[in-house]
Structures are given as C-alpha cells and as structure tokens.
Point group: C2
Chain length 203, copies 2
Amino acid sequence: MPRKSSPVNIDPRVKRTRRLLRDALVLLILKKDFASITIKEVTERAEVAYITFYRHYESLDQLLMEVLDEGLVELMTHIEALARQSDPSSLETEGRLIFEYIEQKADLFRILLKSQSVTRIRKKVVSNISTIFQKSCVPLERLGNQVTINMASNHIATSLLSLIEWWLENNMKPSPIEMGKVYKSLIIDSTVGAVSSLSAVAK
Amino acid sequence: MPRKSSPVNIDPRVKRTRRLLRDALVLLILKKDFASITIKEVTERAEVAYITFYRHYESLDQLLMEVLDEGLVELMTHIEALARQSDPSSLETEGRLIFEYIEQKADLFRILLKSQSVTRIRKKVVSNISTIFQKSCVPLERLGNQVTINMASNHIATSLLSLIEWWLENNMKPSPIEMGKVYKSLIIDSTVGAVSSLSAVAK
DNA sequence: ACATACTGTTACACAGTATAACAAAAGGAG
DNA sequence: CTCCTTTTGTTATACTGTGTAACAGTATGT
C-alpha cells in the first residue's frame, strides 16, 4: 500500500493508477449492476495489473466509497451553502439550484443512487443531508422536541433523495424550475407545517 | 427442478425442503449481511444437501424474493384494506394500525428493509405502495395533473418506507399511537396540501 | 546516475458456484 | 404390500474470482 497522506506530494504513478481505477469503475457501474462487477474487470478496463488493485484498495466497496466521496463532498458543501442562506422566501430558488446541480452531475447521481445497493452508502448520504437540515433549518429548532426534529430531518433527507431518484428515472422531465417549486412545497413547507402541527398537539 | 404449479398437490418432500431453505435464509439474514451469505451456509443450516438448493432455486436472490413475497402479499392486502376505507377523519387510526401491524411483524420488516441491498426489492415495494395510494387516495385524483400525482404517490410510498425504517432503527420508540399522528400529519396531509398548492399555482 | 518506489508477470492456495452421474430414500397408485 | 416414480444425498469435477507472494522491470526525483 503506497503512502498517501504524509507527504502532500503524491507519486504521479499512484495518482494515475487510482484515477484509472476510479474511471474504470464508473464506466462499469453505468453499464451494469455493481454487485456483478469483479476486480478483474476493473483492472482490465483500467489497463493495470490485477494485483495493482490490492496495492491501493482492500475491496471494490472501498474504491466505490472513494468515487462517491469525491462527488459527495462537493454535493454536500453545495447543499450546505444553499441551506445556510435559508431565507424562507428563496426556498424555491434553493430547490431549483439543487436540481440544476444534479442535472449537471447526472452521471454521478445515477451511480450514487444505483449504489444504494450498498446500503451503507445510502445511510451515509441520508445522515449527512439530515444533519445539514437539522443545523440549518431554523424553524425546526424552535418547534417540537428532539425526537420529532430527528424524525423530520430524516424525513427531509430521505424524501429529497427519493425525489431526486424519481426525477432521474423520469429523465429529468419536469424542469429544475418546476422541481424547485416541488422541493419547497412537498419537502420543506410540508415538513415544517407537519412538525408545527404535531408540536401544537403535544402542548 | 421439481414441478410446482400444475398439480395442486405438491410433493411433501418438496414442500419440506423449500420451507427449510426459506427458514434457514431468514435466520441468517437476521444475523449477518445478505451479501455475505453463501448457498453452502444456507443448505448447511437447513440440513439439506448443497445441490438440493439448485433443484429449487437459481440463486439466493430468487430464494430471498420468495421469502419476501410471502410477507409482502400479506402486508399489501393489509395496507390496501386500510387505504380503501380512506375516511379522512380516520387517517390517524389508519396510521396507528399500520405501525401496530409492523410491530407484530418486526422481524419480517427488518429483513425487508435490510434487503434493500437488493434494489429491485425496494423498487417493487415502492411501486406497490405507490399504486395503492394512487388508486385509493381520492383527494389526489381531483387535484393536479398525472405527473404531479405520480410524484406525490411516489413521495408517499418512499416516505412511509423511510419512516418505518427510521422507527425500526429507533427500536419502535414512539408508540404506534404517536406514529399514527405522524403518519397523518407528515405523510398524508402534507402531501395532499402540497399537491393542492402546486396545482393552484398551475392554474 | 542512483537509490527508491511503483508496476507487471507468473504462480499458487483457497473458497464459492454450478453441473453431472449414480446410489439411497420417500411418496403415491394399484 | 409392492412397484414405479420422484426426490434427495453423495461424490467428483470444471470453472471463476479472491487474495497473497516472489521476483523482474520501469518510472521518479534528487
């Protein structure tokens, strides 16, 4: 296993090999089911020796994680930045920007959602998005108890993922502008409204 | 492959073997990840010969499908029956009954949700629930266009699944009575409200 | 140009899949 | 109960993919 972190300068051969492996995996996932992909296939497509795979990764899962983390970090900072400016009047715009971003990176998202086969990844994504909304969605903090808030942010995260999945399967048919309205209405406003009504009953 | 359908009388040996294999798989799934389960393990736990597996199933996936279909048919008829009597005033009761049912069959549901690893199964479940709500949820039929209705029923189905998943992971902590309120407020009322507001804008 | 680090080739042990042939046991019809 | 059919068990085998090892070859940077 070549060293990776200590010196900031990574051997260009290592960089190249890892890029080849990541790209090969991406191409394969877009063509077939992740579960049916073998290490041999990846190394052949990447045109590196079979054993070279093991010199960088322990399993295909780990390689997949790296691929997704690459894009996921980017997505998260993007969504987080959008959520930070949670001006209620601009929620529709926030939604539009999310779906425009997805439109750009459609390939990555198809892979990410296909890879829900690997349940851990879905949970990680849900957990990340959930935390973001829990921190930034101001109205939720005031209303309701902790359990309700956990439930609500989990609801927002999973609903958003499902909506994205549905949208990609429908070939991104309603435009991002329309989806922005849907996002505001179906995901955010709905949830905030439900939490407040649930909390009102609790009092 | 022993014949199964033509005569209503199934050989008792076949019945026994298939039951042993199903039970063995269920026990194993509750203990470890489905992806790491081998056919050899299943046959050993079931105390049948290795090759006997292939005399009844083509793959572990197929066996898993049979196990889930068994319980899924039951769940679907249950939810459908509840949704049929969609008296708006009894939505809370409908929700309570769903979560009470899940409480009873917790093991089956843990397996079902763990098996989302097999993406096909999640899609099947979502599609089934989605269709049920699309048919029975009267308010949605009047409001909005077909795309919106598809999206909304998909939203209801995935949200319900996610909520069930969250509830099981939280050791079924808020009582079914509380979850009934959540179901009405967060899943149904929210969605209906959102659809009507989206449709109003469209006009 | 030289030591270092990475990559490629070949070989091997191992586990799981999938099939085949034959023997043994259990079920059903007369 | 007996006989024929069907199912199950045993053993053997080919195949594929995993994961590791040793050694030779190639690229990197100082």
